[in-house]
């Protein structure tokens, strides 16, 4: 019996670029290059490792986003995923996490799955709630924020390192997993992988295919509204001193003047 793994990935604006908001207060995607969210690379990596351990497994990468988001799918395919699903629809512009999770859940159900894997958060919105919401929507266990993950005999096991304790978790499949950047270095696509990715199937779906009404998604349908986005004023230049033997004492003087000592 084949293990069906769906990896949710996001195409995000490059954090090293100059990211900003568009006039409608959605993320401006035109000015900054996009790429596969770094934290999702760890999810792809864990999917590949789990698939390697399984007798028979198939990995589908799934994303919701504009045409360019195919780049994120291609990257995951070149790492070794088998096929891709791209949900694209003009009505999706401005969709928030509630709408996105609805679209993902429907697409996951349509694709068929035993295991859903996601990164711990996106590197643009950084909310970190999508995996838990997916588990809620799909009605399956959440095994989230794992720094180690394994699947054996229909059971997913993992370690969750929290602020106060480290927990060993276990749940039966089907389940939703999210992994942290501690789960293991993501592999680089090989030349062979990049060439092979060009031939791998990418299925396109729109809202109609998923039986989702346009008013449930998009900017109008969003569950949250951004009223304003203000660029933070550049910090006024601070005092910079060169240490000539008294740097530590001078700094102590500053800290005392600010009442930290």
């Amino acid at each position: 019996m084949s293990l069906r793994i769906v990896v949710c990935v996001k195409y995000v604006p490059d954090a090293t670029g100059d990211r900003h908001f568009a006039d409608d207060l959605t993320v401006d995607r035109d000015d900054v290059d996009g790429l596969l969210s770094e934290l999702d690379e760890y999810a792809v990596e864990q999917a590949l490792q789990i698939a390697d351990e399984a007798d028979d497994a198939e990995i589908t990468v799934l994303t919701v986003g504009p045409e360019d988001a195919k780049d994120a799918l291609r990257k995951a395919l070149s790492m070794g995923a088998d096929k891709a699903v791209h949900v694209e629809d003009d009505d999706l512009h401005g969709t928030d996490v509630m709408g996105t999770s609805l679209v993902l859940a429907k697409a996951i159900e349509k694709t068929g799955y035993d295991l859903v894997i996601a990164g711990m958060a996106s590197t643009d919105g950084t909310m970190g709630v999508l995996p838990a919401i997916l588990a809620e929507r799909l009605g399956v266990p959440q095994v989230t924020l794992l720094s180690e993950v394994k699947v054996e005999d229909g059971v997913v096991k993992g370690r969750r390192d929290g602020d106060t304790a480290s927990e060993q978790l276990e749940a039966s499949l089907p389940a939703v997993v999210s992994v942290t950047d501690q789960s293991g270095e993501a592999r680089y696509p090989s030349f062979k992988g990049i060439m092979a990715a060009k031939k791998k199937p990418v299925q396109s779906l729109d809202l109609e295919d998923l039986e989702i009404d346009a008013d449930e998604v998009g900017l109008e349908g969003a569950w949250t509204a951004v009223d304003s986005a203000t660029e933070r004023p550049a910090r006024t230049a601070g005092t910079i001193v060169k240490d000539e033997g008294e740097g530590g004492k001078q700094l102590a003087g500053f800290l005392a003047s600010q009442k930290f000592i």
């Binding site: 954090a15 900003h20 908001f21 996490v97 509630m98 590197t123 643009d124 950084t126 909310m127 970190g128 709630v129 838990a132 919401i133 588990a135 809620e136 009605g139 266990p141 959440q142 095994v143 989230t144 924020l145 720094s147 969750r160 929290g162 602020d163 304790a165 480290s166 927990e167 060993q168 978790l169 276990e170 749940a171 039966s172 969003a222 569950w223 949250t224 509204a225 951004v226 009223d227 304003s228 986005a229 660029e231 933070r232 910090r235 601070g238 910079i240 001193v241 060169k242 240490d243 008294e246 740097g247 530590g248 004492k249 700094l251 102590a252 500053f254 800290l255 600010q258 930290f260 000592i261």
Partner: protein
């Protein structure tokens, strides 16, 4: 006045500071009703009452510790149905965000995470957030359902505001899903005796310039002289010099202390994403061109192995 549910983060009855901060924000938009779950839930009442909770709903059951997240969502939902609040506020811990998000789905509401401020608005609470590594400040509202908002530590002052804090038992019936993810073992993190990183008023961080695990004691000594938490950059964590649980940055923890001291950290965007909302920023780095100096209120261009111990000694002597 409308009631506002506040989810209580506590350890065996000891209420964590971010929850007390949340009560300050909750009082701006209504009357706080606290929800405390698990062992020691009732013991939280005096601290919550002192900071403005008119009521404390408590529940304890083995499910809260034995299974992940969902039992707590069931309980918070029970509280939501009992109270019909105007908003639900939850501390922005990893678990807090997951609990809040699942509740939001169940009650058909939008969610805002990592707010750094909340004010009352004409159309409900308005949350301030930092976006894109804190290069933007946004103001947002939940536009569908009852606002569910998670709030970052250090977003408000803890204020005493004595209220009744009447304890009431919360009746919870666990859903079938509650037992889906078993916690088969739990190892408490060894206490360092230092404040928790995300909650600390002062954070002292070390990076690549610390040049080895064996040198981190220099950073720790400064932290201890200031009563601070210790952070580390991704470079230091990836090199194995300091535990991942102390990583500050985009893929680690986001901190917003009163004072952030970066030592031997260049200030790559990855790191800045996790600390740029700190109120006062100080850096010590050999490289005068390091991007961290663009952010600082005070910077010292110099060798951290000279500057940091001198600073530590000076802090100690000034404290007498």
């Amino acid at each position: 006045m409308a009631e506002v549910l506040v989810y209580v983060d506590h350890a065996d009855g000891a209420v964590r500071k971010p929850t007390l901060e949340l009560l300050t924000l909750a009082r701006r938009i209504g009357e706080p009703v606290a929800v405390a779950l698990g062992p020691g839930a009732e013991a939280t009442a005096p601290a919550l009452a002192e900071h403005g909770a008119v009521k404390v709903l408590t529940a304890d059951a083995p499910e809260f510790a034995d299974y992940l997240v969902v039992p707590k969502v069931d309980a918070l939902q029970a509280a939501y149905e009992a109270v019909s609040p105007a908003a639900v506020l939850v501390p922005s811990s990893a678990e807090g965000k997951e609990i809040a998000a699942r509740l939001a789905v169940r009650i058909g509401s939008g969610i805002i995470t990592d707010a750094v401020d909340i004010e009352a608005g004409d159309e409900g609470p308005v949350a301030t957030q930092a976006a894109f590594a804190a290069s933007y400040t946004t103001k947002s509202r939940v536009s569908k359902g009852t606002p569910v908002i998670t709030v970052k530590p250090n977003s408000a002052a803890v204020e005493a505001a004595p209220a009744a804090g009447a304890v009431e038992a919360l009746a919870v019936s666990f859903s079938e899903k509650a037992t889906g993810t078993k916690v088969v073992a739990r190892t408490p993190r060894e206490s360092t005796g230092r404040p928790e990183l995300t909650e600390a008023a002062i954070v002292v961080s070390g990076g690549r310039g610390v040049n080895g695990a064996e040198n981190f004691h220099i950073i720790e000594a400064l932290a201890d002289s200031l009563g601070a938490a210790v952070g580390a950059s991704r470079a230091a964590v990836d090199a194995g010099w300091y535990p991942h649980s102390n990583q500050v940055g985009q893929t680690g923890k986001s901190v917003s202390p009163q004072l952030y001291i970066a030592s031997g950290i260049s200030g790559a965007i990855q790191h800045r994403a996790g600390m740029q909302t700190s109120k006062t920023i100080v850096a010590i780095n050999k490289d005068a061109e390091a991007p961290i100096f663009d952010l600082v209120d005070y910077g010292v261009v110099g060798d951290l192995f000279e500057v940091v111990p001198q600073l530590t000694a000076e802090v100690q002597s000034r404290k007498g």
